[in-house]
């Protein structure tokens, strides 16, 4: 519909670290988005493999001498590349010394030329009109919009052609299906509800759009946390509140971005370990906001929620279980209570998942076949036994690691989307 | 024998109308909904006329026209496209297409142009 030259130009920032297997295909897919003006900035964060070489060769890149200003301090930039080919004229590749994801995004912010930035994971698949829909909140409100996020969907087992999802399929593995249930709960119920009361604290790092000036004023991404996506939004909101400037954060209730989730328990463990550390770090950096009425919803609802239900829940659950086992050994257990309480808790968690499924069926209905619904219902019943405890354990381990002072990002092992080659990044 | 026409168009409503109209006019029509399918059909069967859109999935209309001009030079082509940009129309004529009709189009006019193109041959 909209092909207007008046739409604001967007800069897509995609950090790449050791992505040689798929980076060229991913960029090709990004080049075909349906949006009049956008720039793609790939930040090669000191990859040790051939990521940069592949990009240079495939897109005919040469060094570019456009001036930029290092507003946010980052690791040194080796060079900025642009393509000699007209058809890739909106592609920019930044080659820099390794400094982690946050540092790479900051370099991208310094170098990109547009006022709206869209940070994405380089390997996620965007819907063709994703940018168009994401831009909408920035152009629709009376208040200044500083950021917008959307619903993330799971791409495992989906059929991908030319960088587009052409058929949505349900993953074959239980571990991926359990994550589908989990994502439904998080996005269709959690974030949707939080956005309704303007209490959103997290825009997923896989796909989010930001007002560049607001990000710069807040100081860019924090390189000292593994939860840089959450920390940035919390800091931006905190700053706007302290400045007393009216603003809002948009949320697009449409599935715009598809990402591959871990199908390997080991990798899932690393991911959740990292998420737990990110949450703990963000809450600790911004602990002044918790219960602070000055921050309104954020202080009185959002941050306490994250403290108790996101950060502390795994710890409480773990100690509950430990207590149960202790009583069991001491022979002090009241089985009637234990069992009846277990049943309430179990039914409640299944009810929560089923409600999320219900929302999905009511709204988007990406999984259109009746047998897919059945499989998801089964997954919802099994999840509390065979998935949830594992995630809790990973989160607990994350907190333990944090106390011991572990900072590194866990590496992700991905099976290339649309193909079967394994991109091992150990 | 009836003249055979291949219609390449991804909008199913347009396809159905064209098929209906041209069948009424006494032609035999075959339909392909994307460029890849069109190439396959062109290699297997013979036609007297090709009507094609330019924006097609997988293989574009321009690529399709190039293929026809190189391999089946006797097959006349009518382009049916939403594009009103002069350069696109020029590109198509430079590749040697017989006629260019822009959408929205008048079915009666199209029918006349089809008849004329087939007679010229």
């Amino acid at each position: 519909m909209l092909q207007s030259s008046s739409l604001p130009p967007v800069s897509i920032l995609a950090p790449a670290f050791n992505e040689e297997a798929n980076v060229v295909d991913n960029v090709r897919s990004l080049l075909t988005l349906n949006y009049p003006f956008y720039e793609i900035v790939i930040i090669n964060d000191g990859s040790k493999d051939k990521t940069l070489e592949r990009l240079i060769k495939s897109f005919n890149l040469v060094e570019d001498d456009t001036l930029y200003h290092n507003f946010i301090e980052t690791q040194a930039i080796n060079a900025v590349y642009v393509s000699k080919n007209k058809s890739f004229k909106n592609l920019k590749v930044v080659d820099k010394i390794n400094g982690g994801k946050a540092d790479a995004l900051n370099a991208g912010i310094n170098i990109c030329k547009n006022e709206l930035i869209c940070s994405i994971d380089v390997d996620c698949i965007l819907e063709g009109d994703a940018l168009l829909k994401m831009v909408k909140p920035f152009l629709s409100g009376k208040k200044k919009v500083i950021a917008a996020g959307g619903i993330i969907r799971i791409a495992n087992s989906c059929v991908v052609e030319h960088g587009r999802i052409v058929e949505v399929r349900l993953p074959d593995t239980y571990i991926a299906r359990a994550q589908i249930i989990e994502y439904f709960r998080a996005f269709l119920m959690g974030r949707m509800a939080w956005s309704r009361i303007d209490g959103l604290l997290l825009i997923s790092g896989a796909f989010g759009m930001f007002d560049k000036n607001a990000v710069m004023e807040a100081g860019g991404y924090n390189t000292n946390t593994v939860g840089e996506d959450m920390e940035l939004l919390v800091r931006m909101r905190r700053r706007m509140r302290e400045k007393g400037e009216p603003y809002s954060v948009g949320f697009i209730p449409d599935p715009l971005c598809w990402t591959e989730v871990p199908q390997d328990w080991r990798v899932l463990h690393r991911q959740r370990n990292r998420w737990a550390r990110g949450t703990a770090e963000t809450l600790s950096i911004h602990r002044k906001m918790i219960f602070n009425p000055k921050y309104r919803i954020l202080g009185l609802l959002s941050t306490p929620y994250w403290l108790f239900f996101e950060w502390m829940a795994p710890i409480v659950e773990f100690f509950g279980l430990a207590f149960f086992i202790a009583l069991l050994f001491l022979g002090q257990l009241n089985w009637v209570f234990a069992l009846s309480f277990f049943l309430v808790a179990y039914c409640f968690s299944v009810l929560y998942s089923i409600t999320a499924l219900f929302f999905e069926e009511y709204s988007f209905q990406q999984y259109k076949k009746t047998d897919q619904t059945f499989k998801l219902i089964v997954a919802a019943f099994l999840e509390p036994f065979f998935y949830h405890p594992f995630v809790i354990w990973a989160a607990l381990k994350g907190n333990i690691d944090l106390l011991r002072g572990r900072k590194a990002w866990g590496n992700m092992v991905r099976t290339g989307l649309g193909k079967q080659d394994i991109n091992e990044t150990e | 024998m009836k003249d055979r026409i291949l219609i390449v168009e991804d909008n199913s409503m347009v396809v159905k109308s064209l098929h209906f109209k041209l069948t009424k006019d006494g032609y035999e029509t075959v339909v392909a909904s994307d460029g890849r399918e069109a190439l396959k059909v062109l290699k297997e069967q013979t036609f007297h006329l090709l009507i094609t859109d330019l924006m097609l999935p997988f293989v574009s209309g321009i690529e399709l026209i190039e293929f026809v001009k190189n391999n089946i030079p006797d097959l006349p082509i009518i382009v049916l496209s939403t594009s009103t940009q002069e350069e696109v129309i020029m590109d198509a004529f430079n590749l040697g297409v017989e006629d260019f009709i822009t959408k929205p189009f008048s079915p009666n006019e199209l029918s006349l142009r089809v008849r004329r193109t087939l007679q010229k041959k």
């Binding site: 519909m1 092909q3 008046s6 089923i354 069926e361 | 009424k24």
Partner: protein, 332 residues
């Protein structure tokens, strides 16, 4: 084993909640399945209706030796009984109409009235939810049905989707005064809506372009900015003198757009004034002036402002240096 009355309250509560949750789970699952089956059926029906509608429309248009009156009457009685049937039929009708012009297109509009579908649309427009309303307005626009006053009430509707369709309607249906609705607006249009108006003017509106200077004194600032912008978009050079005063407007956004427009219309005379204004301007306007110098000026113009680019204002400085680099490349 204790009986229910003997057991402790905590057990009772647990049992009660378990039961409640369990019942809820079951009813949700049941509803889920019912919705799924309903949707499956509806989708199957839609496909059948769609095929029937397209078949009928094509016969109506292209079949030669038939009595169209009888055909239409029979179709209305047999195939347009439910709302779903009407909805699907309208979708097909508009879909086909989009691609046709000439007598076929006229015939399709006549068919719409013959089948009494206007009554159906008006009912949706007056009583329906916002999605039905916006759809109805869209269909009225596509079929160019004159209901200006009725649609006007939706220009200030609460839902953005409805407002958008109302704007689209005006641009599509009106032949001479596409922006007549500006005078009926009571609140500012959002940037998104203005982009929508601009797009519709460029791609759907078929009449002659209005003179945008007549909205330069509109009470809504968004409309003023839009008009200044459109003067550039549609190359209305004759309006340059009317735009020049807006370079001194108190609102920064208006000044910015005025500079952009004058640049686009290659108004070289404005450069001197902009250079004079430079020291006192905000960062946003400073950057705009630098960009104007790049488009309209020469190196000397850039040097004229150099002393007013502060070291601390890094974004203005960066813009300045980029243009300097640009001029260097030209002379090299």
């Amino acid at each position: 084993m204790k009986t229910w009355e003997d057991s402790e309250w905590i057990f009772k509560i647990n049992a009660a909640f378990t039961l409640l949750f369990f019942v809820l789970i079951l009813s949700f699952i049941l509803t889920l399945l019912i919705i799924r089956l309903y949707k499956n059926r509806r989708n199957r029906l839609k496909k059948i209706y769609e095929a029937s509608a397209e078949e009928f429309i094509n016969s109506y248009l292209f079949e030669e030796d038939i009595d169209r009156g009888v055909l239409v009457e029979k179709y209305e009685i047999e195939n347009l009984k439910t709302n779903l049937q009407k909805k699907v039929f309208l979708k097909s009708l508009v879909g086909i109409n989009e691609n046709f012009k000439g007598e076929s297109s006229i015939a399709l509009k006549k068919l719409f009235h013959q089948l009494n579908l206007d009554a159906f649309l008006l009912k949706n427009l007056q009583k329906g939810d916002w999605d039905k309303q916006s759809r109805a307005i869209y269909l009225l626009a596509e079929l160019s049905i004159k209901k200006n006053n009725l649609v006007a009430t939706f220009l200030n509707a609460k839902r953005m989707e409805v407002r958008e369709q109302a704007i689209y309607y005006y641009l599509k249906v009106s032949t001479g005064k596409p922006l007549e609705f500006f005078s009926r607006l009571t609140t500012d249009l959002t940037p998104w809506e203005l982009i929508y108006v601009e797009d519709s003017l460029k791609y759907y509106y078929e009449g002659s372009m209005p003179d945008f200077s007549k909205w330069l004194d509109h009470k809504l600032i968004s409309i003023v900015i839009f008009s200044i912008k459109m003067i550039a978009q549609f190359d209305q050079f004759e309006n340059i003198p009317k735009v020049i005063p807006f370079v001194d407007h108190p609102d920064e956004k208006v000044r910015k757009q005025a500079i952009k427009t004058l640049c686009k219309l290659s108004c070289h005379d404005i450069l001197g004034k902009l250079i004079d204004k430079f020291p006192k301007e905000s960062t946003v306007i400073k950057k705009e002036i630098i960009s104007a110098i790049m488009q309209l000026g020469i190196r000397v113009d850039l040097l004229a402002i150099k002393t007013h680019v502060s070291e601390n204002d890094w974004s203005t400085k960066l813009a300045f240096e980029r243009v300097e680099q640009h001029f260097n490349k030209l002379t090299a």
